[in-house]
């Protein structure tokens, strides 16, 4: 029975897919979605029956752009909406990938705020793919041709989203324009704590790994270079940090793969346990090359030090 439902949902998803973009037929018929257990009045759903383009999205979602369509399931009684979206997402390597989702079943959000849908991810290979619950899309009551909402995917979020209703003949010949990235509120209290004495001083690295180049002979240098690369966290074998001055500046010394690197952190800021800073490669007056984003308090600071394409996962403790 579950398999039958899955096939029906997938069939409906594919039918909807055929109606979203210009590359697909515009028949738009959707069939096969089972009647939802919870009924939402059709007048509550009707304002959402539209085609949309994504205009803004929380930066953490990793979505570049996207299109979406909601329409009533054909022949359904009582009527219910089914949605389909095509999002262009950033892969870990920075390439653009396509992610397809259907949104079903609809449910009413509390206080008449709008509608919520379970986000079902459609597999990469449509006819052999599978639909799996992957999050939730909430759409708030439309304001003119704009609809705001929030999205949860892959266990992350919620991220704010904003869509614009597309006109009847409005179509994109290629991928839709890049959506504005909404950045989360950043800490803005200066320093890394309420009092300078809380965070100024000499720190030691507490998450150092064994030097991978130590027993590598002629290969040591290339290992050292490679271990300092990537966005998932370079291997740091030793390091230290000094925080001093007003405004406070942090000097970070790291050894990665046998290579010593020095970074200067400026614009130190905090909010709650959040700790952020700008990262420079060549002193505080050089152009910033990345950011430090982490957490801290009670003499400890840990997080990701981002320099260009490299991310160093560090944890420091204030020396006693």
């Amino acid at each position: 029975m579950r398999r039958l439902k899955l096939i029906l949902v997938l069939g409906g998803a594919l039918a909807l897919l055929a109606s979203v973009g210009v590359a697909w037929a515009t028949t738009g018929a959707t069939t096969g979605y089972p009647q939802p257990k919870v009924v939402v009045p059709s007048q509550t759903q009707a304002p959402f029956e539209n085609r949309y383009v994504l205009t803004a999205v929380g930066s953490g979602a990793g979505i570049r752009s996207g299109e979406m369509k909601f329409e009533f399931e054909e022949g359904s009684s009582p009527q219910f909406l089914v949605g389909i979206s095509q999002f262009y997402t950033y892969s870990p390597t920075g390439e653009i990938e396509t992610a397809l989702f259907t949104f079903y079943p609809p449910k009413e959000l509390p206080n008449g705020k709008g509608l919520g849908f379970t986000a079902l991810k459609v597999g990469a290979s449509a006819q052999y793919g599978q639909v799996t619950p992957d999050g939730e899309l909430q759409l708030f009551t439309p304001e003119g041709d704009k609809v705001k909402g929030q999205l949860r995917l892959r266990g992350g979020g919620p991220w704010p989203v904003e869509f614009k209703v597309l006109g009847e003949d409005e179509r994109y010949t290629a991928s839709p324009p890049a959506a504005r990235q909404i950045h989360e509120a950043q800490p803005n209290n200066p320093g890394w704590g309420g009092e300078a004495s809380e965070y100024e001083g000499e720190y030691e690295l507490t998450n150092g790994a064994e030097d991978p180049t130590a027993k590598a002979g002629t290969l040591g240098a290339v290992i050292g270079v490679a271990q300092g690369l990537g966005v998932r966290g370079a291997v740091v074998s030793s390091g230290s940090m000094t925080v001093e001055g007003n405004p406070a500046v942090a000097t970070v010394e790291l050894e990665t793969g046998g290579t010593n690197r020095t970074f200067t952190l400026t614009d130190l800021a905090w909010q709650g346990d959040q700790r952020v800073a700008q990262v420079h490669n060549e002193g505080p007056d050089s152009p910033p090359v990345g950011r430090f984003e982490g957490t801290g308090g009670q003499g400890e600071v840990k997080g990701d030090l981002i320099s260009g394409h490299s991310v160093y996962k560090v944890a420091f403790k204030l020396k006693g």
Binding site: G217, T218, A221, I223, G230, T259
Partner: protein, 152 residues
Amino acid sequence: MKSKFRSLASLLVLAAVGALVVAGCGGGSSSAGGGDFVSGAEAACGSANKQIAALGTPQQEQVTRYLEKTEAVIVKLHQEVAALDGSGAAETAYTAGLAKAIPVLTAMTNAARSENFDAVRELSSGLVEIHLGELAEEAKLKTCAEVPVSES
């Protein structure tokens, strides 16, 4: 009689010297040509280390070129060391370690060409696992055990 005795004594001295020479050739190495292997490999490693050190520490955009050059240096080093035909267990293990490093370096270079730097880093663990420096030490290759120090 005196001259016969002298001839016999000379023969004995020659035989002793010959035995010493043969013993000397095998001393300290498991192969007959071990001395040649060590000196030849050390010279090749010295040159390789110098070339790698001269590459410096690359910026992100220079990593592909750096890996291409390093790969070429290691390929040449392997050819030179393999040509020395070391027959001892340690010498064979060191030569095999170099051979094992080449496909890993090729994969890293290809990953860098695709700008997949996470893959470059992850693949480099394959080089770490070879422990080439330790293999060099076991083969009495002091220079080969050294990590090239970047000139910049």
